[in-house]
């Protein structure tokens, strides 16, 4: 694959990951813990539910962060490919 094509593919993947991360960060599920606290219900199950929702919220946000980081890495690699192609001998 020509360098420019590889770099373009990485940029497209980065865009996809960035979009997915953004979707994760806007999920309604991230705000469920605010409705599932002791002002709504109390007992063993409510307590377990609240803990579970908080845990999953943290996991989703962590995955969103990981996707953003991966997207940045893809863009950086793409830029490096382009830069190498520009300085390579015989390239106009």
């Amino acid at each position: 694959m020509p360098p420019t094509a590889a770099a373009d593919q990485l940029r497209r993947r980065a865009e996809t990951l960035h979009g997915t991360a953004a979707a994760l960060q806007q999920l309604t599920a991230l705000g469920l813990h605010l409705l599932a606290g002791p002002e709504t219900w109390v007992g063993p199950s409510p307590q377990s539910c609240l803990q579970d929702l908080c845990t999953r919220r943290n996991l989703l946000l962590a995955e969103a962060d990981a996707l953003e980081a991966e997207a940045r890495r893809f863009r950086r690699v793409a830029d490096e490919i382009d830069a190498q192609a520009a300085t390579a001998p015989g390239v106009q």
């Binding site: 993947r13 996809t16 990951l17 979009g19 997915t20 991360a21 979707a23 994760l24 999920l27 309604t28 599920a29 705000g31 469920l32 409705l35 599932a36 002791p38 002002e39 709504t40 219900w41 109390v42 007992g43 063993p44 199950s45 409510p46 307590q47 377990s48 539910c49 579970d52 929702l53 999953r56 996991l59 989703l60 995955e63 969103a64 990981a66 996707l67 991966e70 893809f74």
Partner: protein, 616 residues
């Protein structure tokens, strides 16, 4: 199965939000391999919502809540349902069964607050009669007490300290008394153990409310409502608080003065207390055991209690605890002589003024151990009782009379005279280092021998007096039989002053010299001379060795004179031998003065008067 309480309207809102959240999650799609982990988390979240939480909230919304009767049948009034009960009866929330059981190892802030509120109104007797609930409470309080935030939540709602603690304390006293009279011993002691754990938990919780680095706190700050609380209940909490020495001493003194002022509270509507059961550890036992962990607290407590020593010695079920508190508070390792004297002398004087009560009332069960206690109290401070020492008192008669009183007990006297270790420890402490000063040892030995001598002579005189009385009685009996006037006193009989017709057989019996106070005195003085002369020979030998090692005396001066056990006059013979030895080696100047000083401390004290030797 547990219960859960909920606000139906808010649960309805939660149900809708969960549905929307699941839809939102399902809308996310990404096939990029780099997003595989993220998609797994998304799918797991959808699964959890769909399979667990949505069915739960949907069930709550669609089913009828439990009726009042159903709640009661589900034991909603139990302590471990405090939060459910508070939210349902206080806030009108609905209640349904919870598919999960409560995890007692986890306490939420809401549970801590609800527990505090419930304990304000709890039926203490019912609680204690339910071992499961009581054990649960003990565990919950331990968890709450281990967390500052939970403790703060609990204390924000709990305020009926006196009511709860008095109720629990009353049950504890009752159970202890019942356990001592038989029955299901194990069960009762298990309840008492859980009650103690509850008191410990309450103390742990309250500990978070005490100011950091606190000292000298007011009692009301230490435990809320302590002034309204029975001293016994308060003691059961206080014993677990980590108080500074001053505060612990102050609170102990305050509680015991109250206990002493009104020890019997029952017979009316008052709850049962330790004072109603004359068995087992009472208020004083509990507090003294706490004091004994802190020598400084013992000392400060004794200083506070001096004006009312009954509260020290007449309160504890085990008087030995009180003795240990006093001994800890006056130990030379932690107390200087001036402070110790301010405690030791008043304590001895207290016992000397209340001796009858000590044997019969105050130290009931002590078996007269208070005399041995006084001996132990005095032993480390013997130097301070010597005539020329003013560290305890500038009135030598006061210290003399105090020590003489301690010496009146045979066991105490024997302990003081034979317990060389404690006596030596006292002398060493007075010297301020490990090397006991000769003059201190000499002064102590002389004083003890003088006291022993006076006591022995007094005893002999008392025996003679008793015999004289018996002899008079016998003479009266004889005269009644013979019609001859009686002779008064055994001494007269012994002197042969018996009129004609007197009892010849009695005269024969009494013709021997049965009593000899002077002989007793001579024997004691001889023993004293022997002991002090032995000490003088040791001191001389040690001093000479040191001077030889320092090059101030030639090695040829050794050996030094030794104790002569064959002579009647060991002190006098040693004095002569020492003079001859020193003169023979031509020891003079500063070296001679040094040796004279070392030897004289003992030798002078050992010298017995010529009149005594003349009798011998």
């Amino acid at each position: 199965m547990s219960l859960l309480a909920y606000d139906p309207e808010r649960v309805g809102r939660l149900q809708r939000a969960m549905g929307e959240a699941a839809d939102g999650l399902r809308a996310i799609s990404c096939t990029d391999p780099a997003a595989a982990d993220a998609m797994r988390v998304v799918r797991a979240t959808i699964c959890q919502l769909d399979s667990t939480w949505l069915p739960l909230v949907t069930g709550l919304v669609s089913c009828d809540p439990l009726s009042l009767r159903q709640r009661r049948s589900e034991r909603i009034d139990d302590l471990d349902q405090s939060l459910i009960r508070v939210m349902s009866s206080g806030y009108g929330w609905a209640v349904q069964h919870d598919p999960l059981s409560d995890d007692p190892a986890t306490v939420t802030p809401q549970e801590a607050r609800a527990l505090g509120a419930t304990l304000n109104e709890i039926d203490v007797t019912a609680l204690v009669n339910d071992p499961v609930q009581l054990h649960w409470l003990a565990r919950q309080l331990a968890i709450i007490g281990g967390d500052a935030g939970l403790s703060s939540q609990f204390l924000a709602n709990f305020h009926e300290w006196a009511r709860l603690c008095d109720g629990l304390g009353s049950e504890r006293a009752h159970r202890l008394a019942a356990a001592s009279t038989g029955g299901t011993m194990n069960e009762r002691t298990a309840v008492v153990a859980d009650l103690d754990a509850v008191f410990a938990g309450l103390a742990d919780v309250q500990q978070h409310a005490l100011p950091n680095g606190h000292t000298d706190l007011a009692a009301a700050v230490v435990v809320p409502q302590i002034d309204r609380m029975n001293p016994y209940s308060a003691a059961l909490v206080v014993q677990h608080l980590r108080l500074d020495s001053t505060t612990l001493a102050f609170v102990t003194d305050s509680l015991l003065r109250r206990w002493w002022a009104e020890p019997i509270a029952s017979g009316s509507d008052d709850p049962t207390t330790d004072a109603d059961h004359f068995v087992g550890a009472n208020t004083a036992d509990v507090l003294f055991a706490a004091l004994l962990c802190d020598a400084a607290a013992c000392r400060k407590y004794m200083q506070l209690a001096l004006p009312h020593l009954d509260t020290v010695f007449a309160t504890a079920d085990d008087p030995r605890l009180a003795f240990r508190v006093v001994l800890a508070g006056t130990a030379p390792s932690t107390t200087d002589a001036a402070v110790a004297g301010g405690i030791v002398l008043p304590v001895i004087e207290y016992f000397s003024q209340a001796e009858y009560r000590c044997d019969v009332v105050l130290c009931d069960g002590g078996g007269g151990e208070w005399r041995l206690f006084l001996a132990d109290l005095v032993a480390p401070w013997l130097v301070q009782f010597t005539p020329l020492n003013e560290q305890f008192s500038d009135d030598p008669d006061r210290t003399k009379h105090a020590l003489a009183f301690v010496f009146e007990g045979d066991a105490a006297r024997a302990r003081l005279l034979t317990d060389a270790a404690s006596s030596t420890a006292g002398v060493r402490a007075a010297a301020g280092d490990d090397a006991a000063r000769p003059q201190d040892i000499a002064a102590v030995v002389t004083m003890l021998y003088r006291l022993a001598l006076e006591t022995d002579v007094a005893d002999e005189q008392a025996r003679q007096q008793q015999f004289d009385s018996l002899a008079t009685l016998a003479s009266i009996a004889a005269s009644a039989a013979t019609g001859v006037a009686p002779v008064v006193g055994g001494a007269a009989l012994l002197a042969g002053v018996v009129v004609d017709g007197g009892s010849a057989s009695l005269q024969t019996v009494l013709s021997g010299n049965m009593f000899d106070p002077e002989g007793v005195e001579d024997d004691a003085l001889y023993r004293k001379a022997l002991a002090l002369t032995a000490a003088a020979t040791d001191v001389l030998a040690a001093a000479a060795l040191q001077l030889v090692a320092d090059g101030q005396l030639p090695p040829t001066v050794l050996p030094t004179p030794q104790l002569d056990l064959t002579t009647k006059y060991p002190d006098r013979e040693f004095r002569h031998a020492y003079e001859a030895w020193a003169n023979g080696h031509q020891i003079g100047g500063d070296t001679r003065a040094l040796l004279d000083s070392a030897v004289n401390e003992f030798a002078n004290a050992a010298m017995v008067s010529d009149s005594v030797y003349a009798r011998a």
